[in-house]
């Protein structure tokens, strides 16, 4: 009798704890460095207000997990060290993650990933497996089921409430500060050994643009060039020195990418990267809505363009109407 009562009350406790659920956060790492986008998505995870379990995949997961100990506010860390996960193929990751989310002992109600190329690749596939409509690229957490995200290239903000029992979210890195790193915790690390799906696809190779300069997505300053630069050579002789003088990342418009001035991975806009640095210098960029979608949340925007009617001047804090071939070298000299 006594025993039954105790059991019942224990069960009550676990039921009430369950109501709060917890959040599974996907962490991307390069070696043992956690990506800045993942640190931003942990900030969004924190705002959801539930215990956070971080998950790391791939042969480096164990190394990277020690970097997570510098972050406050995690509940625990899951690692899946299979080398098959090294290239984040969604065909492998999605079934593993959806099984974890369905695993009742973990009590996950939320899954969050950074809205990077990787996050965008896996999240919807997990949604299909769980029969859940994900919410991508959120810029604000209203409450644990209500989120704000941009639509129409950032020309409108939509507030949506998810009625699914599991919430699948990707967070726009530029909209959340990276989570602070200070103290040394020692979180419980749980190694999971998922069964793998049969291979239907194989990773062949990658070709990454090597650069010493700040990564475009997380740079505090960005210098971007557009069609006005006219050639790859001009881009290199004008934009690169200015970016170096400012310690800035380099960005570009679609026109500049299409004309072969720079690699596609530097494209800023609706279909490229979304950045929100402290300083964004737009050189020879007209300011099409697709480009503005990727940079109009920057703190200070500077525009240098010879066409004073260019739409970029509508969003620029400081505009200079002039010939970029004269202005940019002069500016580079003066900020050095």
């Amino acid at each position: 009798m006594f025993r039954a009562l105790r059991l019942a009350s224990l069960r009550n406790i676990s039921v009430s704890a369950k109501r709060f659920g917890s959040t599974l956060a996907f962490i991307e790492a390069q070696g043992d460095v956690i990506s800045s986008a993942s640190l931003s998505s942990l900030t969004a995870a924190k705002q959801i207000g539930q215990p956070i379990t971080a998950i790391l995949f791939g042969s480096n997961a164990k190394n990277a997990s020690s970097a997570l100990n510098k972050i406050d506010g995690l509940d625990k860390i899951l690692i899946a060290s299979n080398s098959e996960f090294d290239h984040n193929l969604p065909e492998f990751l999605s079934p593993v993650i959806s099984n974890l989310i369905n695993e009742t002992s973990y009590d996950f109600t939320h899954f969050i990933t950074p809205a990077t190329a990787m996050g965008k690749n896996i999240l919807p596939r997990i949604g299909a497996l769980l029969d859940v409509q994900p919410i991508s690229d959120i810029i604000k957490v209203e409450d644990s089921s209500t989120f704000i995200r941009p639509i129409y290239a950032g020309n409108a903000l939509i507030t949506v409430k998810s009625n699914d029992s599991k919430k699948l979210i990707s967070a726009r890195p530029s909209a959340f500060e990276p989570i602070g790193q200070t103290s040394e915790n020692s979180y419980q690390i749980e190694e999971i050994t998922p069964t793998l799906e049969t291979l239907q696809i194989e990773w062949v190779s990658e070709n990454l643009v090597k650069s010493e300069r700040p990564d475009l997505s997380s740079a505090k300053k960005v210098v971007s060039g557009g069609r006005g630069l006219k050639s790859k050579e001009n881009f290199e002789t004008l934009i690169t020195p200015l970016a170096d003088a400012l310690g800035a990342g380099i960005g570009a418009t679609r026109a500049a990418v299409d004309s072969g001035f720079v690699d596609n991975s530097l494209q800023v806009g609706q279909t490229g990267k979304v950045v929100a640095p402290d300083l964004y210098v737009a050189v020879g960029i007209s300011g099409a809505i697709q480009h503005l979608a990727g940079m109009k949340d920057s703190k200070t925007i500077v525009a240098i363009n010879k066409d004073e009617e260019a739409p970029i001047f509508n969003v620029a804090d400081i505009g200079l109407v002039g010939d970029l071939f004269e202005v940019v070298p002069e500016l580079t000299e003066k900020v050095k």
Binding site: P124, R125, L129, A156
Partner: protein
């Protein structure tokens, strides 16, 4: 590749990319009356890629089927796609109702099964809701591999090699059919439909179906609470020369 390709290309009708959308008075959506609509640019690239695959591998491609799930007027973009080289089409007329990507993917799954498609090429995202979901969801539902954000597609023997745009550069994956591909902007430059081809397209098959022809529950999972303008930036200033620009930047502590 000895397997014959049955290519399916889903296309979406969206507000033209050059138009700045206006939010409606009730703050529940975007004003659509009297606005120019076009094929979603990424879908146009998907159609072009399918046509190029067919042109380069005539004996391999059985047919290119295009499908659109949307209002009656979506038949315009189907006709356009037929004029560019697709062979047949289906309109799933769902009226003006917006359908979420999960439901679209479920309908597409049934279209894939009916058409025995083994290669589906979609745009990576629609420029209206900017979700970037449907291709990945369809791949998940079908349990097919997915190659998203494709910048290059090559058929080699029994395999399809796809170069994908990723953060920091590109990567290449290879897969066997069946396969889902989603297109990035860099994949190709879509052709224009010529007038004679537009005339010929009128004779190509356009099957009209309704939502009730599919066994899919399209109940919305996401409730729209409001749609609003993004914060407006304060008007900036124009400076006369580089010195003023530098001193302004110093005032703002931007450098």
């Amino acid at each position: 590749m000895s397997t014959k390709l049955n290519i399916l290309v889903p296309v979406k009708r969206v507000i033209d990319f050059a138009i700045k959308p206006r939010i409606n008075k009730t703050n529940t959506g975007i004003e659509k009356a009297g606005v120019k609509f076009s094929i979603n640019p990424f879908c146009d690239i998907a159609v072009e890629e399918a046509v190029r695959i067919k042109e380069a591998n005539k004996s391999l491609v059985n047919k290119i089927h295009v499908v659109s799930i949307g209002p009656t007027k979506s038949q315009d973009i189907l006709r356009q796609s037929l004029a560019k080289g697709a062979d047949s089409s289906t309109l799933v007329d769902v009226g003006e109702e917006e359908i979420e990507p999960l439901s679209v993917a479920k309908i597409l799954k049934q279209v894939v099964e009916k058409n025995q498609s083994n290669l589906v090429i979609l745009g990576k995202q629609a420029i209206d809701d900017d979700s970037n979901h449907t291709g990945q969801m369809l791949a998940g539902l079908l349990k097919w591999p997915q190659a998203t954000n494709a910048a290059k597609v090559e058929l080699k023997g029994e395999e399809v090699f796809v170069t994908r745009e990723i953060d920091g550069g590109e990567e290449t994956v290879k897969a066997k059919l069946p396969l889902i591909i989603t297109t990035d902007l860099r994949l190709n430059e879509p052709r224009y439909a010529t007038l004679p081809n537009m005339m010929k397209a009128k004779k190509k098959p356009l099957e009209k179906l309704k939502l009730s022809d599919f066994d899919v529950d399209v109940t919305k999972r996401l409730e729209v609470l409001k749609v609003e303008e993004p914060p407006v930036r304060n008007a900036g200033i124009k400076v006369g020369n580089v010195d003023e620009l530098v001193s302004k930047l110093k005032d703002l502590k931007a450098i």
